[in-house]
Amino acid sequence: MEDSANYSSTFFFCTPLSHERIIWCTECIASGAGITPEQGRIFTVFLTGDALFSFVDATSRESWNALSKVPSVQIVADGDELRLHGLCVSVARAAPGICITERGGGTLFWEQLISHLAAEWKGTKKAAFLLCHPPYMSRIPVHMLRFLSGAYAAGLSPELYAYLDGLHNIHNGQRPSEFENIGRAIATLARKSGESGKDPWFAACSRCATARGYFQMNPGTGYCEPASSIDEITIRPLKEILSRFPGFYPILSHTSGGIVNPDRSRDQDTRPRLIIFITNPPYGTEWTFGGLSLALATAMEGIPTTVVFIEHGVYSLYGTHEVPPNDKVFNVQEMVAATLDIPSLCYLVHAPSLERRGIGVEEHLIGIREVQNNDLAQILWDHDYSATRILFF
């Protein structure tokens, strides 16, 4: 890494972290950070929820410890969640370089994260969360609420983008007997923000809403209308949601990151580019289709977009996929091949993920460049963009 650009990078993890992910993530961050802080690069990693187990897992804790010793890297763990999981004492003992937030009624970690992001995305008036997980089965909507409530308390306008299974959060009439009512909390936050003069923007993807029955055709008018959804969230085409993305503000998701060049944040063109990591196998879930759809839509809007097939995501490029005649599923390889000519869209594949699985890229997709961890670090940090958003699918 020869470039000496000044960057502030933040990563956020709240889902389980595999050994494989920790290895490539920490290698990339260490490569981007160099061994001295002279480059003016700051790296901050925030962890909460199930990601915290990686601090005690014997296969991954050493990677965190090594990374925490890099002078320009700070790792922040959610103390309240560590205590919930019974991990606080063991993490404090095993990983002394990790900053654990104090006991704070579930808010201190989020206050610290928002204050950090507000300083990083200088001048931002809003903060957003791309929510792809359903309520109750997943705790991620709770993390989303803590984040957006914290953003509101810090004077920022909250924005929520419900996508994929995140759509189920908009269902009206939720009445959990034990858990926090996610639907009601979202509605309250949206109302409260609007009434206090903020500019909240809560939206749900119309394709995902239609698939799940929250957006139904009215045969009388020929138009789709919301069904069984809370009023405070507007169902919109993905294109409209992505029309927010050129704005200079942080967008978090269950696993995400952001890189900001403070020297460039006052430039006229501060449109952040987008890097999407496809980490799941192609057909078992909607993750790959959802990630590729979002990447295509942002690239078509002229936002520089890079898709990296990594971890199990490399299976999308392996073998020759043939969709059976009666199976209504998109051929992922056909999706990739058909979009190789879009100027703002670039596809990459993570070579260590291919090597680990002992597989290669299918012949007709061989033009997709293979990258090592140091290449990935260069792609992330050696560039002229004012900002970069990183989303995992």
Binding site: S206, T221, G222, Y223, C224, P237, L238, K239, E240, L292, S293, L296, A297, M300, E301, G302, F330, E334, M335, A337, A338, T339, D341, I342, P343
Partner: protein
């Protein structure tokens, strides 16, 4: 959008893809192709029904 892109990739130069779409589909799925090397045109046929033509 992906379905449309796949269909457009199969289009031979000079040919036109013609289909009916709603206003929302015209604005959000078809129109973006006009800034990505395609010619996109549409005519309103009914209240929420448009005849779209896309060519390379």
């Amino acid at each position: 959008m992906i379905k449309l892109k796949i269909l457009l990739n199969k289009l031979t130069p000079g040919d036109t893809l013609t289909f009916f779409a709603t206003r929302e589909q015209v604005d959000n799925t078809c129109a973006p192709f006009s800034s990505n090397g395609y010619q996109v045109a549409w005519d309103q046929e009914a209240e929420n029904r448009y005849l779209v033509r896309i060519s390379k």
